[in-house]
Subunit: 212 residues, 6 copies
């Protein structure tokens, strides 16, 4: 039995930009991936709305800084064979960090946290798959447009920057933008079809990294 | 589809006091409960070694204070129909809080955090099932005996105190000590048979609370 | 007897931009309001220089993040009939958050904190009056101009954004810019006459919300 | 006009152990003191249920550590002529600190925080009056008896220890136990008559320290 | 025997932009200063890569906020005759604070922390020497250029702003840019020759402040 | 050139229980060790009054939790060949943790923090030498006796527990109680002769660990 942790934000939680709720369980990319991989692999979904890589955000009734939360999530689900980290969109909010380079730096810190975690019990550190979220698109939604002002240009650079960083650090890389598009309803989220598409497209990468 | 969150410590993570690792997935009480409830219910296991109800513990490579961690766990898995909280053993460590009354006070705070959480999206607050962990027993394991000095007497009072508190606050209550015994190997953990037993015994309580 | 809490920043504390000290007690808008409302209402002033809605600022010998401080202030003065929140100016400092939308998001979080506070004792949650501070104006004061670079444009949008947010969340709203003007001495503070004017102008709104 | 800050816990907030709510405004010791001192002095009451001198307590929906909260309270009400600190009862809870010496050490830290605060504006540091709360008495109230186990003996030493410490640090001292008795209903709180008595008895000490 | 604390960032730690490691001990400016001052003075080097004046940065495996770290550094090395603070470069990173004025405000806070520290033992507060780091220069290094976008202009103003602030607060001032130039290899660091030059040039200022 | 970090508390800072100040530089055990080792080794002293292994203590004008401070100290002085950790006395204060086992658990956490630190730059993790402080002795000093009530018995067990733990974790071990005795003036500190004795006695252990 292999264990895969998906550590993400609202794109992993399954925020539904159409119905303004949560996507049905079977539509979330983590569920599609679980189904595709079958019984030999367990996919553990940890998606938190608003999660950043490494930046504080006190606007919610929960900690949102990915660096502060990651160790307890790793502890709760260890031992792990693979950790998929799909984060970065919320870093590009104005007032959080606002840039793609900030997301890259935060992702690097998360990679190091996983590798240097005190796993205990002779558990080995898992492989890491860095995933760039689909690029932010233009939206007529005023609050989202204001929060993500300037982020369209930044997010267009993210996949390339993540790929280089993943190569440097010896991580896997997947560009979710190659499989899915964000909705113009708010500029950042995925409708049901697009979140399913991420699950389908990421499957072969996960299989390869797990040696399946 | 109903969603049940199990928020616990090493007894929920599945610490194996015999092999000094993690119980097989099918042996953990949350897996036994999932299997018994079938496809109409999803049981989400969040067990963290060393988790307390409301007390700091800086001895691990992770936050362990249950009050500080709960909001992000609720956010990650909402909407929820039921939250099962089985905590208190680690509160009774010397240097953490050391008493049963401290665990009761911490559990009350967790109940209030769940009820007053900013659920958003018109999600309703879930029902809450308070579970007292099986009483601590004597052990010849010197480090555990030292850490839990005085805790045997304290933990003997815990079920009764939790039951009264759960009644006062309108929560469900289950005494895991009615179904399982801790191992004398370390005085606090459950062997595979006893962790499975918790899953079997808690099932009817969960069914009733979910209206199944 | 009704209780009203005024939760604010230097505009509520009574920073005097002329004498560089604190306005006389009778000149602060909270005192003017207290006098106007008379003995049946108690106005509790909690103004903290530099307070933000939800953003960290480690430049002072005190916590300044309004989200982190609000719960203990509510606890100290409960039960309350009305909370007046006049914040946002400091959010628009460069290096804090720098935008009006950040202030709106922070104010939303404060509103939720009040509504979801664990009031205890059968105390009910108070009504909430959101107040937009008077718009920032141009100043020849170099340090203030540097700190608030770009904030004049942002603050010009604040009243409108707060009004919409208050309507959405069912809060009262008052635009302090309708009654008072900031001084060009530093661009953000109120002289004695203008702080008194806020107290006079807000009185009828407070009376209406208190049902007086 | 002189300003006096009363920094305390539930004894200052006015917890009513008979009606299980808050004492009427006119019954709280801070109100009695205000009335006795008249218009030339402003008494600012900052009482927070559960406040400790210097110890964390995560059991409430608010920060309770007096050291962490004091700077923002000083900032909110400066300039001040006198700070009255009546704390220590909650320090003696099991699981918080549990001893009188802990309260003394915490009180010393609060005194230093006041003296070394960055007052700004040429404001001078205020005088400090250390007040020992009335000694804890025996109670048949089981939860309170459990929480404060061992505290009766500790609290009996508190006045003497505070007096010595206040002398060493050049602070004023008042023993509230000389004027009031805690109720056997819970062992720690004051009924209306006893809280009024604190206000009457402390008046001459305050007058002397203010030079009135 | 006089004691001098050098509180700084990578420029004080001795980051070597050529070899991508740490400068040899004898090349660091603090060592050059120590040698020049001789046996009557002890120079204590506390340089931390990435240290800011007063801003959080969660990208490293260490706290980096200078305000949060300073008190324990002062405690560890007290009594002190002089504290040299050379910080500000990291404040000007995008996503940290991004401006020279932010560095000035942070430096002011550090100065106040030193003056208001609880020194104890009748130790006196030390003199303070504010040092502006050499201005940031253009670089072809893409990650550094991205992180410090806009910072060249900001850093050009820093020396003048620090000088005025130091004068206002009664601190000494030294412009390290008068003695050393940052390398175009990354735009912010000093090669061996330039870090040695800082030590030589600061010596007379330190001698004067120590009365030697 | 080898680098050795001494991470400790008041015994390393050099608290003088006779003169109530700091021991002369040449009397501190770290200085004696430096002199004995000569120019090929640099001994970096980081002693902080009141430092614990892993427990919060908000009674001072500085963070005192060794776990929270260690990463920035490691970063400031890396690369390192050896870290000497002499802590534990303050853990045994009542209200901090109060037991020897707590100090052992805290020391284990510190060892893991050193080994799993993100050293960067291809720097290797240093060797670790665990040092048990000399046992606490009886004192007529009332405040110290009250603070350390029960600690004499606990501290008598510490050397043996540390030795076992150091063996298990592959660290070096030195019992400072084999070379020095605490003074009855306060029960915990070392006079000048005894602090020098620690330096002389630890030298051969350090030489062996450094391969000198």
């Amino acid at each position: 039995m292999k264990s895969v942790l998906a550590y993400g934000d609202s794109l992993t939680w399954g925020y539904d930009p159409v119905a303004l709720g949560r996507h049905a369980h079977e539509d979330r990319w983590t569920s599609v991936l679980q189904k595709a991989l079958g019984h030999g692999v367990r996919v553990i979904a940890e998606g938190l709305n608003g999660r950043t890589t490494a930046y504080d955000d006190h606007l919610a009734d929960a900690e949102r800084n990915g660096v502060k939360l990651l160790p307890s999530v790793l502890e709760s689900h260890k031992p792990l064979d693979l950790v998929i980290v799909m984060l970065g969109t919320n870093d590009m909010k104005r007032g959080v960090a606002g840039t793609a380079i900030a997301a890259v730096k935060g992702m690097e810190r998360l990679v190091k946290l996983i590798r240097l975690h005190d796993w205990g019990f002779d558990f080995e550190a898992p492989e890491i798959l860095v995933v760039s979220p689909p690029p932010i698109c233009a939206t007529a939604n005023a609050p989202f447009a204001a929060m993500f002002k300037g982020a369209i240009e930044e997010s267009a650079m993210l996949a390339s920057l993540y790929r280089d960083m993943a190569d440097d650090l010896g991580c896997g890389f997947f560009d979710a933008g190659s499989a899915a598009k964000t909705t113009p309803l708010d500029g950042i989220h995925l409708d049901a079809e697009n979140t399913r598409a991420v699950g389908r497209a990421i499957e072969p990468v996960v299989r390869m990294m797990l040696g399946l």
